[in-house]
């Protein structure tokens, strides 16, 4: 199954959901979409507006591929289970989000964590590519240990 996350923000993301729905109808894909506030209602995909986090994580665990908006949350949840990811940045100039998402998607694509998709007409191609994609190994962030060092030095051992 392809699990699709468009986030829980207040903006619609029809640019991704509509072509995905059409492709699902055409190719008989098994697609689930967490739809959030997207106004387009898919007819060939299963969907829920909002899902409990635990349920969503279980769905991602069972997915063969995750398609997500370019937000941090969805990408992180998919990486948690080492799933192939197609990330589609929302575009603020199309009123899809308050912030640009393409910076992070491009940077993560360079690291080999995911496949970035910037033109949703190419969705079918990206999905095909993703079937043979596995995300690169990730370095652990040192921020928690930097923070722990700071707290220990500043507040615990003077």
């Amino acid at each position: 199954m392809i699990v699709t996350l468009v986030g829980t923000g207040p903006d619609s993301f029809e640019r991704l959901v509509r072509p995905l729905d059409e492709l699902a109808g055409k190719n008989g894909w098994d697609v689930f979409i967490q739809l959030g506030h997207t106004r387009y209602v898919p007819s060939h995909c299963k969907y829920e507006r909002f899902l409990d986090r635990s349920v969503l994580l279980r769905m991602i665990e069972g997915a063969e591929l995750v398609i997500t908006q370019g937000g941090y949350g969805g990408i992180r949840d998919a990486l948690l289970f080492n799933k192939p990811i197609v990330a589609v940045p929302r575009d603020p100039t199309l009123n899809e989000s308050p912030d640009y998402q393409d910076e992070m998607v491009k940077a993560m694509e360079e690291k080999g964590y995911l496949i970035g998709l910037y033109d949703t007409n190419q969705l079918e191609l990206s999905v095909e590519k993703a079937k043979s994609f596995s995300p690169a190994a990730r370095d652990a962030s040192t921020i928690p240990s930097l923070l722990a060092d700071y707290v220990t030095k500043r507040f615990i051992c003077h």
Binding site: Y72, L80, E103, M104, L146, R154
Partner: protein, 378 residues
């Protein structure tokens, strides 16, 4: 809660200035000094004008000066109001260094009017915290004249502690009876900083020496259960920012309270996280909602007295971060992973106030030269 927040504590302190606690001899010394100051200031102000206001202004100015120079402003700020970051003596060894200097001065001068000098409070229980203050009590030899001179010595020590920024409250007690009435002497032995002959031991029974106190403190440090992790407000808007913040504090020794937006899914995100939580309103650029956010932030800071505020953004965290910082907390900002080469507005703005600043992508080090790079939180 509100009575232990900084403003009411300071106001109450300004009004009363410990006078209710003093004995009559010390009050006499204090009132005399303040009266002198009032007359002096009234004479000065009198050169600028005349009438009632000269005396009112002189009183207000003199009373405020007394609060600063003949009071214990740092003990109030650090110990009573819990304001962090105002005091240089958060360090145990520096704190003890100051106490040893006090002792050295007494040993050098050996004032004939002084019977003894005692210290009470947390450090004689072997506990030192960054909010500790020193409770010192000087006891005169019998007789009114000795008491007045001791009151003056106490005043000088008070003045010195203020000029050095040391959190001390110091008073004169006439005798062992007054000490027993005003201090909790049954639960703890006081530290004897100074004794004329064996007078202190005779009057107060068993007391501790400086070395005893140091041993006790050392023992407790090694047990380390007295060291509590700092209180921290971790503030982030819902969704990705909150997820990043939770990852950033994983394994960090904190007593954290998570502050975020009340969204349908935040309760779920926070399930099982185990931290206390609180909520703010999202202003969304609405001026009125911004005021509500500022008011909520102020309360949060007053209520939780954070020593540290940690944030990943977005814009709705700015009031909380600045109010906490202004009231003495350290500010740690983590630029969101969504930013790779260009700064976020919130990050750019809070950069100049932050004590620690972390970025998740290396190119941002060009924008934030003082930041530390730590890689993406995943």
């Amino acid at each position: 809660m509100i009575l232990s927040s900084p403003l009411p504590v300071l106001l109450r302190y300004w009004l009363v200035q410990g006078v209710l606690y003093m004995n009559w001899m010390e009050r006499l010394h204090r009132f005399a000094l303040e009266a002198l100051l009032i007359v002096l200031l009234a004479w000065l102000f009198g050169m600028l004008g005349d009438g009632m206001w000269v005396w009112i202004a002189a009183f207000l100015a003199a009373h405020t000066m007394s609060a600063i120079f003949n009071g214990h402003p740092f003990a109030v700020l650090v110990h009573d109001a819990g304001v962090r970051g105002v005091c240089y003596y958060r360090d145990r060894d520096r704190f003890l260094g100051y106490v040893e200097d006090m002792q050295a001065r007494l040993e050098r001068d050996r004032p004939i009017y002084l019977a003894g000098a005692l210290v009470f409070g947390s450090i004689v229980r072997g506990v030192f915290r960054p909010t500790s203050d020193l409770d010192a009590r000087y006891i005169p030899m019998p007789g009114a004249w000795n008491a007045l001179r001791t009151a003056h010595l106490v005043f000088v020590e008070r003045l010195r502690s203020t000029l050095k920024g040391f959190p001390m409250d110091i008073y004169m007690f006439r005798d062992a009876r007054e000490t027993a009435a005003k201090m909790n002497v049954s639960g703890e032995l006081p530290l004897a900083l100074y004794s004329r002959g064996s007078l202190v031991a005779e009057k107060f029974g068993k007391v501790m020496s400086m070395d005893d106190v140091k041993d006790l403190l050392k023992k407790n440090i090694s047990q380390s259960d007295e060291i509590k992790p700092p209180r921290a407000i971790v503030v982030a808007s819902g969704g990705g920012h909150l997820a990043e913040a939770l990852l950033a504090i994983k394994g960090v020794p904190l007593r954290a309270i998570i502050v975020t937006l009340r969204l349908p899914h935040t309760e779920k995100t926070l399930q099982g996280v185990g931290w206390k939580r609180d909520y703010l309103i999202n202003p969304h650029g609405d001026a009125l909602k911004y005021l509500v956010n500022i008011w909520q932030s102020f309360w949060l800071v007053v209520k939780n007295r954070p020593e540290l505020v940690i944030s990943t953004g977005a814009g709705m965290v700015v009031p909380t971060c600045l109010i906490a910082k202004f009231l003495g907390a350290k500010l740690v900002f983590i630029e969101t992973a969504a930013r790779v080469t260009t700064p976020s507005r919130t990050g750019k703005f809070l950069y100049r106030f932050a004590d620690e600043f972390y970025v998740q992508w290396e190119p941002l080090l060009k924008v934030y030269p003082k930041a530390k790079y730590g890689g993406v939180l995943l």
